[in-house]
């Protein structure tokens, strides 16, 4: 029993990170029907932004309140990653918006490879895995045989808050309404006075800063390296597709499903089967429910 509760907690922890990254894929797809294959690597860059910021802050002032260090690191990573995504969108994707879909896909893959190789070549990063400095004290609690760490609590709670905030932004604010409008019909949106290009930039910024929350949280629990974005990016992308790509709540649900696949596969099968199970899930779903769990079939527009 304790074993399963423990695994569920672990699945929630991993699933939170997948969900946060999946949101970026789904938001960009929702607004541009484009899959931003660089998103996993943008997530990777965010972990290094968190690494350098926290190292710098702790180096300059070591006696700071951990909450201040954590929040400063988080905000810096979010801002820097948002900026990176907006620049990528402007320079690499926007010129291709009217080009065939495949051009943007290839460009996104290219941008991802560039980020990976840039980080490997960039001296202060390099190929070796790294640990983030301890942002908050890691304390384990034992509750009825189940181990819960402060890190785990922070990851699950912060992710939940961020998802709640995003859901509110998309459903309640003017920008969120504009995002949904553009995803339905980007040709009519300007006639409402909506600056479509600016809203698209905001979507990239929002998706990237949420990935940066995921990146900072991930870095608190695991090692980081320049190639981490590939596998995690794929898992988050599958999360988005499983939940129904283009659907915000779907991405959240998909992230948690993939978190459970990751943690529970080794319980029943050899752990090397993890990717096999994840991709099988994707294939089966694509066959029986091509629009994902929450996605609606594309409605033909007149």
């Amino acid at each position: 029993m304790e074993f399963y509760v423990q695994q569920i907690l672990n699945a929630l922890q991993v699933g939170s990170v997948y969900a946060l990254i999946a949101l970026g894929y789904t938001m960009v797809y929702g607004i541009l029907t484009m899959i931003n294959f660089a998103h996993g690597d943008i997530f990777m860059v965010s972990t290094y932004l968190a690494f350098f910021t926290s190292t710098l802050i702790l180096g300059l002032a070591s006696g700071l309140n951990p909450i201040v260090v954590f929040i400063a690191t988080l905000l810096t990573a979010m801002f820097g990653t948002a900026l990176l995504a907006v620049v990528i969108e402007r320079l690499a994707y926007k010129p291709l918006r009217t080009a065939p879909r495949i051009s943007a896909v290839i460009t996104a893959l290219g941008v991802g490879l560039f980020l990976e190789n840039f980080m490997v070549a960039f001296k202060p990063v390099g190929p070796a895995p790294r640990f983030l400095p301890h942002l908050i004290p890691a304390v384990n609690f034992n509750i009825g045989g189940v181990t819960v760490s402060t890190i785990q609590i922070v990851i699950i709670v912060v992710s939940a808050l961020v998802m709640l905030l995003l859901d509110t932004i998309v459903r309640r604010t003017m920008v969120g309404t504009a995002m949904r409008a553009i995803s339905w019909d980007k040709f009519t949106a300007p006639l409402m006075g909506v600056p479509v290009d600016r809203v698209i930039s905001m979507t990239f910024a929002l998706g990237a800063s949420i990935a940066a929350v995921g990146g900072t949280l991930y870095g608190m629990a695991y090692t980081i390296d320049p190639y981490m974005g590939i596998r995690i990016g794929w898992w988050a992308f599958i999360s988005a597709v499983v939940g129904g790509i283009g659907n915000i709540r779907g991405a959240m649900i998909g992230g948690f499903i993939l978190g459970f696949v990751e943690i529970f596969t080794p319980v029943f099968l050899p752990s090397t089967y993890r990717d096999f199970v994840a991709f099988s899930l994707l294939l089966v779903l694509l066959i029986f429910r091509p629009t994902g769990i929450l996605g609606r079939p594309m409605v033909q527009k007149v």
């Binding site: 003017m174 309404t177 504009a178 949904r180 409008a181 995803s183 339905w184 019909d185 040709f187 009519t188 949106a189 300007p190 006639l191 409402m192 006075g193 909506v194 600056p195 479509v196 409605v299 007149v302």
Partner: protein
């Protein structure tokens, strides 16, 4: 205002889609307070003209002036902010947003946020059906209700000029009469209207002046009453 006092003036406008030339040298004017209609058959270039005014398609050559402003090279959302509302062909309702969200979105560029409450009230007075359905998604509305919503959104942008692209399309004669009556009231309340229609009879009845567009060129223009009795218009657009 332009030198001749028109609210909107289009001069020698050329527009093409790639190698397809849609408008070859159009000139027209709309004065403050007028209802002007542009009639023409399918494919004549009516929608293209409205899209060019709204900044949705690039202009090859010619001038478009709104008040004292040159609209060339102004982006579409800025043109709305300057006071040109556009009810697009096919209504362009966001089916995934509620009626209220559709209306709210149209206020994006408004600076006079204090007047909003009053404007929602005005829109709901004009279209009580929309008030009843404000929390329903746009996709669940009937064709007539969608057209009401499209006009209501244009009102919410609080433009001085309203461009309408075939608002009668697909509606029953009764609904068409209602919509046209509403347009008359909107105009009486101070909004200038440029109405594109294939439904020439209704449009000419409503308008002060009219233009006839044929394959990208204006072939006739004049007072609506005169156009109504013009033999060639009667033959081509009014069913004899």
């Amino acid at each position: 205002m332009t030198s001749n006092g028109a609210l909107l003036s289009v001069e020698d406008l050329h527009v093409a889609y790639g190698s397809i030339r849609a408008l070859h040298g159009i000139s027209l004017e709309v004065h403050e307070g007028e209802i002007v209609t542009l009639i023409g058959a399918n494919g004549a270039g009516k929608s293209t003209l409205l899209r060019a005014i709204s900044g949705l398609v690039p202009i090859q050559s010619g001038k478009i002036r709104f008040g004292s402003a040159d609209l060339r090279a102004v982006s579409a959302h800025r043109i709305v902010e300057m006071g040109v509302a556009h009810v697009p062909e096919g209504r362009g309702i966001f089916a995934n947003l509620t009626v209220m969200e559709n209306l709210k979105l149209a206020t994006w560029s408004r600076k006079d946020r204090k007047a909003l409450r009053q404007d929602y009230q005005r829109v709901f007075d004009v279209f009580p059906r929309l008030a009843e359905r404000q929390n329903q998604s746009g996709g669940t509305l009937s064709g007539g209700e969608q057209q009401m919503l499209a006009v209501a959104r244009a009102l919410m942008t609080s433009g001085r000029l309203m461009l309408l692209d075939e608002p009668s399309m697909g509606l029953s004669p009764v609904l068409v009469r209602d919509i046209f009556q509403t347009l008359r009231a909107i105009n009486a309340a101070g909004t200038t209207i440029l109405l594109v229609e294939q439904n020439a009879r209704q449009a000419l009845k409503l308008a002060h002046r009219g233009y006839v567009l044929e394959t990208g060129s204006i072939t006739l223009s004049g007072n609506a009453a005169e156009l109504m009795v013009n033999p060639s218009i009667k033959k081509a657009y009014l069913g004899g």
